[in-house]
């Protein structure tokens, strides 16, 4: 009940890269997970149906933008993204700042 921020995001997966994406996520690199944890990201799950991916995570720090920037500075995470980025494609036309993963807005929460 403290300052947990819930974040939800959606992206498409390229059909020809679907299996590769799943395989990558069957063994996410430990350093990628450590960086997320170090940057106050917790209870993170990614879900798939057809060629659509949804991510949900909880942010327990105090400056989401700063922590996201810290994640993006991690060399191993950047290397990881060179594998995952080609699997993904934007599926929501309207976007902010060119991000591929599109944020959703929370409309309701039950604790």
């Amino acid at each position: 009940m403290t300052g947990i921020e819930r974040h939800a995001l959606v992206v498409g997966v390229r059909p020809e890269k679907r299996e590769e994406y799943l395989e990558l996520h069957s063994a996410v690199w430990p350093q990628v997970e450590k960086t997320l944890s170090d940057c106050n990201v917790t209870n993170y799950s990614i879900h798939i149906v057809e060629n659509m991916l949804f991510a949900y995570y909880e942010y327990v720090g105090t400056d989401h933008a700063a922590d996201m920037a810290r994640i993006a500075e991690d060399e191993v995470t950047r290397e990881w993204w060179t594998h995952t980025d080609p699997c993904q494609v934007r599926i929501v036309p309207e976007t902010d700042l060119g991000a591929v993963w599109q944020p959703l807005r929370e409309v309701w929460h039950l604790a």
Copy 2:
């Protein structure tokens, strides 16, 4: 770290019913929320982007199907659904059992 099951679901919202759906969820009926809680559903959030809704919840009971059936037996919840159902439309073509909300499969989780 006990037996929490994470569930993710997706559905479309009819464009002409989008505002109505948001208004309904600005004040979900207390009995609807109580029934969910009584049936071991927790940390439930619904998110929107464009005309797509994404739901995430955690199930902390021992028989998800039985608890879902209990929810569906609650008269107030059924009445609530007469308001929300017309707002929703299936967006994933393949489906199980005719459900409108489509379940996603978890591909990765970071605690």
